[in-house]
């Protein structure tokens, strides 16, 4: 089974900017944020954990503020 991570944001506006800059390079999915991870904005981006470094690098390069990257909770 593929291992997934999720990047969370303080604001939906930041999440949607992240979607714009990531979508051509990383396979991402906009998902509602699991409450166990964050109580900030309602949406997060789920992506294969193997792409975590690349994801972080793209976000940094485009100066998108994010809260954190967490393992996608199973079950």
């Amino acid at each position: 089974m593929q291992d997934y991570s999720v990047v969370t944001f303080y604001s939906t506006h930041h999440a949607l900017k992240a979607e714009k800059v990531l979508k051509k390079e990383v396979e991402i999915l906009v998902v509602p944020v699991p409450r166990s991870i964050s109580a900030n904005c309602g949406i997060a981006l789920k992506f294969p954990t193997s792409e975590a470094k690349k994801t972080e690098e793209i976000l940094a390069r485009n100066r998108v503020a994010f809260e954190g990257i967490f393992p996608w909770p199973n079950g």
């Binding site: 303080y10 900017k17 900030n40 309602g42 949406i43």
Partner: protein, 384 residues
């Protein structure tokens, strides 16, 4: 069909793509942007982001999230002025400002902000950038001016003012309500720290849309606090852009239309839009000059101006001219003081005001001909 020459107030008609975008959002999406995690809310959020991104491209703003949406340019100016200025700060403006800047500054002056109004030449209706340099003081915090006057149609050299501000560590606010979309605006080359724009004029969006660009690193005290869809567990306002300055549900259908309006402008090219508008205003001014009873007000040179002209007809009040144009000729203009008493005081047309004709890219030469014929008839009829 009415002939609509009141575009400096609100542009009409709008390009079909703007109406379509508004309808598409309302029919297909409809949800609240940035609030919920469901598909329609996310889609609404994307539409909002795309609107920010298209405006960022138009004004050469690096990060779209440094733009906050407001109801109009007035609201944007207020967010900047009240968020920045404190008693003891010195602010420089021009003596031809619209009330969007004049009134908040007059109020702030009553609260201890020092206000300096740089004179505007009554003939050329132009400012001298050197006067801004001379007005600088050790406590000058901000220069705040409009880019193009809604009364005279004159465009100010804001790049020069921005340079003076930057060289002297003073912040610069430009109100581009009249120029955005019809004249190039670049926050980098013009050194603009706060850009206040409205959606409903030459950007071809809906009423109730506008925004403020804030240069990264400048913190403004929020004018309004409330729900942002972020940090919902906290009862204090977030401190990051755009959420810090943007509370409550925005006018998403209107902003969808605004984004479509910007796309319409980009597709046609600002320089092409300008050249059509210049052709129309040239024809209009040259035609009005031919009518003996018409007194043109302010600068009538054709270089570097908006498609806006103010005039009076001898022996008639502006309101009478406006009424005849409306009732007899189905032509819409604005009469009076145009929310800019300072401008009329400068030009000597206070308190009577003027008749103002303001054109848009979507007006035609035929409409200008009809207008000139009507003004000619009104002038002659009065003489009999």
């Amino acid at each position: 069909m009415p002939i609509y020459f009141d575009n400096a107030a609100t542009s009409y008609p709008k390009p079909p793509c703007a109406l379509e975008a508004c309808k598409d959002f309302t029919e297909r999406v409809g949800a609240n942007p940035g609030r919920s995690g469901h598909r329609l809310s996310v889609e609404a959020g994307r539409i909002l982001y795309d609107a920010r991104a298209s405006l960022a491209e138009l004004f050469n703003i690096e990060d779209p999230l440094q733009i906050i949406f407001t109801y109009n340019a007035t609201y944007a100016v207020n967010v900047a002025l009240f968020g920045l200025l404190k008693p003891g700060d010195h602010v420089i403006t021009s003596s031809i400002e619209h009330n969007a800047i004049a009134r908040p500054l007059r109020y702030l002056e009553s609260q201890g902000v020092e206000l300096m109004r740089v004179p505007v030449d009554p003939k050329s209706c132009q400012i001298d950038p050197d006067d801004f340099k001379k007005a600088l003081k050790s406590n000058t915090k901000l220069i705040a001016i409009l880019h193009g006057s809604n009364v005279t149609g004159v465009i100010f050299p804001i790049a020069e003012i921005g340079k003076i501000a930057r060289e002297n560590d003073v912040l610069f606010l430009a109100d581009v309500a009249q120029t955005a979309g019809a004249y190039p605006v670049d926050v980098e080359t013009m050194n603009i720290d706060f850009l206040a724009f409205t959606g409903h004029k030459s950007l071809f969006g809906m009423q109730g849309t506008g925004g403020l660009y804030v240069r990264e690193g400048i913190n403004l005290l929020p004018l309004v606090r409330g729900g942002t869809g972020s940090k919902s567990e906290e009862d204090v306002q977030p401190d990051f852009m755009p959420d810090s300055l943007e509370s409550g549900t925005p006018n998403t259908p209107g902003l969808a239309a605004l984004a479509a309006g910007v796309k319409f402008i980009q597709e046609r090219g600002i320089l092409n839009i300008r050249s059509h508008e210049e052709e129309l205003i040239r024809k209009l001014i040259n035609g009005l000059i031919e009518i003996d009873e018409v007194n043109l007000v302010g600068d009538i040179s054709l270089d570097c101006r908006l498609p806006v002209i103010s005039f009076n007809i001898e022996g008639l009040l502006p309101s009478e001219v406006g009424q005849i144009l409306d009732e007899k000729y189905n032509i819409m203009v604005r009469v009076g003081l145009h929310c800019a008493p300072w401008a009329h005081q400068t030009m000597g047309t206070y308190p009577k005001g003027t008749v103002r004709a303001s054109l848009s890219y979507l007006n035609t030469k035929d409409e200008v001909d009809c207008f000139l014929k009507a003004v000619g008839e009104i002038s002659k009829r009065r003489r009999i």
